[in-house]
Structure formats: C-alpha cells, structure tokens
C-alpha cells in the first residue's frame, strides 16, 4: 500500500498523478472502443457489389403515346411513360402554388422530349410501387399514378397531389443516347 504522502506526491493545483493516469487510460480505451465500433456499424451500409450500379439501357421505340412501361434500375422499378398532348397540357395547367412539391413538367423531362416522363416507380411515402404504368391499372384522381398502399395520387407529371407522400416521384439521372434509346444511371 502506498502511504498518504506517496499518493499525494506531485500534487499541483489539487491534481494528482493518479488522476492523469486514470483519465489517460480511460480516454485511450474509449478511442479504441470507437475505432472498433466504426467498422461494426459501417458493415451494415450497402456493400461494394450493391453500390456498383450498372446503368440500364431502355429501348423506348415501342411505347405508343399514352402507354407506359415498367423496367428496373438498381433493382428499383422505373416507369417510362409516353405522355399524350392532353396530359402535358393538364400538367402545365396546374398552378405551382397548388403543388406540395412544386416543379414544372419541363423541370421533370428533357428539353424537346417533354412527352417522355421517366421516374422511379417508388412511392415517396413508404416505397411501394404505384399503379398506373400498366394497361388498365388505376391511375388515381389526377390521371398519373396511384399508390394503393396508403392512397397517394400522382398527376401526369408524376407529382404528388393527394395522400401522404411528401415528394414527387423521383426522376433518376438519365439521357437520350439516341431518339429511341434512353440510358439510366
């Protein structure tokens, strides 16, 4: 056992050597613990093979006006829709102030290709696939898409109009590699 005088040796302003050793040891162990926790948490993030997102090419030549197709990119559904003039006009007629997530149809399509509406088929509420891409499916109150899970209605520019979803359907990064081929990703 160390005597009282030994324990108090080197006291300056009420700080003992032992205090320094305690704090240093606990801090070092703490840094070590964090260094171990980081990979344990990070292992749950998407792995390299999941992140290696291939781009998807879509041939749109067969999609007639008024029709839509469902395809997939990064395992997520993608809707490609050939809008008719009436649907574009309907989308343009809506005042931006009425929209929950205000965006014009021009911002959601490529210049000169505004009849091609390309969005993810993932409802921005809780991720269901909305209906309306296939023939005869319910397109909701605004003629676009309708999510059956919790009743979100999207319009002909796939903008949220009614129901719990907070955002418009997401427009993925894509470009027209030719008049009939679109590359997503």
């Amino acid at each position: 056992m160390a005597s009282e005088s030994e324990l108090n040796a080197g006291i300056e302003d009420g700080v003992r050597r032992r205090d320094f050793i305690n704090i240093a040891a606990v801090s070092f162990a703490g840094v070590g613990a964090v260094a171990v926790v980081l990979p344990l948490v990070n292992q749950m993030n998407p792995s390299a093979d999941v992140l290696a997102l291939s781009s998807t090419e879509i041939d749109i030549s067969a999609i007639q006006p008024g029709q839509a197709i469902k395809t997939s990119w990064r395992k997520q559904p993608v809707f490609v829709r050939n809008l008719v003039a009436k649907e574009i006009a309907e989308a343009k007629a809506v005042p931006l102030g009425d929209l929950r997530d205000p965006q014009t149809i021009d911002e959601r399509t490529k210049p000169g290709k505004e009849n091609w509406l390309i969005t993810l088929g993932v409802c921005t509420h809780l991720g269901c696939v909305p209906l309306g891409a296939a023939e005869g499916e319910n397109r909701g109150d605004f003629g676009g898409y309708f999510c059956p899970c919790h009743g979100s209605h999207y319009d002909t520019a796939a903008r949220i109009r009614k129901g719990p979803a907070p955002k418009n359907l997401v427009v993925p990064p894509y470009e027209f590699t030719s008049d009939t081929v679109v590359t997503i990703g």
């Binding site: 929950r100 809780l126 059956p148 899970c149």
Partner: protein
Amino acid sequence: MSFPWAKNYEPQQPLMKWLDEKLPLPRLVYNAIGAGYPVPRNLNYFWNFGVLAGAALAIQIITGIVLAMHYAANATVAFNSVEHIMRDVNAGWFIRYAHMNGASMFFIVVYLHIFRGLYYGSYKAPREMVWLLGVVIFLLMMATAFMGYVLPWGQMSFWGAQVITGFFSAIPIVGEPVREWLLGGFVPDNATLNRFFSLHYLLPFVILGVVILHIWALHIPGSNNPTGIEVKDEQDTVPFHPYYTAKDGFGLGIFLLIFVALTFFSPNALGHADNYIPANSLSTPAHIVPEWYFLPFYAILKAFTFNFLWIDAKLWGVIAMFGSIALLFFLPWLDSSPVKSSTYRPLYRIFFWILVVDVFLLGWCGMQPAEQPWVILSQLGAIYYFAHFLVILPIVSRIERPLPMPNSITEAVLAKHADTSSAATA
C-alpha cells in the same frame, strides 16, 4: 425481497442441501415461482396471462431454433427453403405452423396482459418499473415479429420490409442514408434478409433477459390484485405454489387447446395469401396489410394524410405511430389517481372501455384500403387514442371521486363471499 411471512426454502435431501450451498438455484426458483413467493389470495384469471406470455415465448424459441436448422437466409433460396420445410422436412409443416401461430398467440396473451395492467392499474407505483420493462418487451416483440415475417421472402415479407424501413426515410436529412444503412442496399435484398435473420435469432434471447428483469422488478413489491389494494398481512396472501401454479396450469391448458386448434384446423387464418407468392421487387400487392397485431398502429400511421405545421404528412404518421407506443412509457405519471383498480374508479372505467373500443376500431381501419370513410375513422380513432392518455386521463385522475374501498384484500374477499352466500340462502 419478499414479505416477512414468506416460506423459507429448506432442502431435505442431501443432494439439494449440497446444491443449495454451492449454487442456490433451486432456492431462486422456490422464491420466484414456488411456495416462497406469497401472492394476493384474490387473483382472477386475468393474472394468468403473464405465465402464458412466458409459455408463448418458450414455444417460439423452441420452434424457432428447430426451424433455423432447415431455413436458408438467402434471397434466392429463402422462399423455397420455407416450402422445403412445409413439404419435405419431417413434421416441418407442424413446426412452422406452430411458430407462425405461436407468434399470434404470443401477441394475444400479451395484449390481454396489457389490458389487465391497464384495467387494474398495475402500472402505478410501486410497480412503475415492472410496467416500463413490459413496454420494452412489447417493443422488442414487435421488432422480432416484424423481422420474422420478412424471412419467408414472400410478397408481404418483401413489401412489409420496404414499408417499415421506409418509416426511417421520413427522418429529415439523415432519413434516406439511415434507411440504406438498415437495408444494406436501396431495396430490401439479400443483405437485408441476412441481417434480419441474425437479429430475429438474437432478439428472443434479449426478450428473455428483459422478462427476467420484469419478474425481478415485480417481486420487489409483489403482484397487484383485482382490488388494487396492497397486501397488508399474511392472511391477504397465499403461496404461489401450489395455489397459482394450479390456477396457471389450468389457464395453460386452455391456452394450448386454442393454440393447437388454430395450428391444426386453420393455420393460415391469421396470415395473408400474398405471402405464398415469392418476393417481387417490381410489383406491389394490391393491398399491403401488416400482421393483425400491428393493425391499430398501422391505422394511426395511415391517419395522417395532410401536412400540418412545418412537418409533412409522412413524418407525422411515423411520429404518431411510434408516439402511440412511446406514450405508454409515461403512463404511470399521466395517471395521478392513487386508486389502482377500475372497480373503484367509475369515471376512468367508462373512458377505459371507450379506449378498448377505439383500439378495435383502429385495428379494423388498419385492415381497410386508404379510402373514405376509413381515413376519417382512423383520424378520429387516432385523436381519441392520444386524447385518452394526454388529456382525459390526467383530468379524470384529478376530478374523479372513487367508490368506497375495503380496508384490505381479505375484507374485500370476505364481503364478496358474504354476498354470494346470502344470495344463495335467499
């Protein structure tokens, strides 16, 4: 701790004496669920459900360990491995159906256990910690049941995982990264299935640990009883064994009868046909419904269809749904009435029964598509649910005038006995 008159463990056999000196495990059991635990003499059958919940947990762990010997947690083969269990594994169909329906039975008895706690004021001082640990167990059960439902990798499994993990994307800014972290991808996939299997195997043992804490915390003040009056002396109690081991044994028999009837005669009655379709990330079932035990909470989630203040509808729904359970943590302090049992609380009793009806209404709405009149009904139901705990309960517990109460459990029992015997002679 126990009451001073609790019986003492006195092993007679040399082997048990030896064991008691080295590792007093039999003593622990004796004092916890044996003759060494004095329990109020007037418990009714609602007090069976704690033991039944323990039995249900045991059934789930045993059937689950066996199922894990045959199941393959890989997105390409998971669905087929479940069918392999159903068709090829010896008695596999029985074990899987027992596990499926065992989950439902677990929730049924736990809901009745919670009902008992609410009706007889078991959550109040001195049993707040018992209640808090109970809510923790309930949350763990919900997480475990959800992840278990994902494992067969059917359509409901996949879309349930998509919707539930979607809750986290409602969190501002970090929501989407959190969701991707939980899923290990952009949609539920192999990474998701693997981690859910790992956690689904782990969590029941965590539940078991919290159950032990729950019982430990209960044994400090001892069990509540239908009068809500605390035990005053020895004549208010009887030893747990043989009195309540017998009563619980009877209840366990009834529980098992219902359980096997469900398992053998209508094993899929509480499930969804869609989950026998393999998962397809490109097609959502027309109508996504969670398992029945989540329906009231699902209805609260769906009740928010409009933005309110600066928070959007999606985040409101998620906050309300988690809030509806988190609220239970504050219950012991929201209800300030010193009277525990509803028997002596005429006003609280009325609102309590309205709450029970309200939860059934929410459950019904949770099953329905997101259309009128279900949306407005779930909105009204959600408002009442929150109003009950946050407004009605604090007010009622202050203004209510309780009915006259007996002085002790024994007095209540004898008065009841006098009533029935005088009625019999008349």
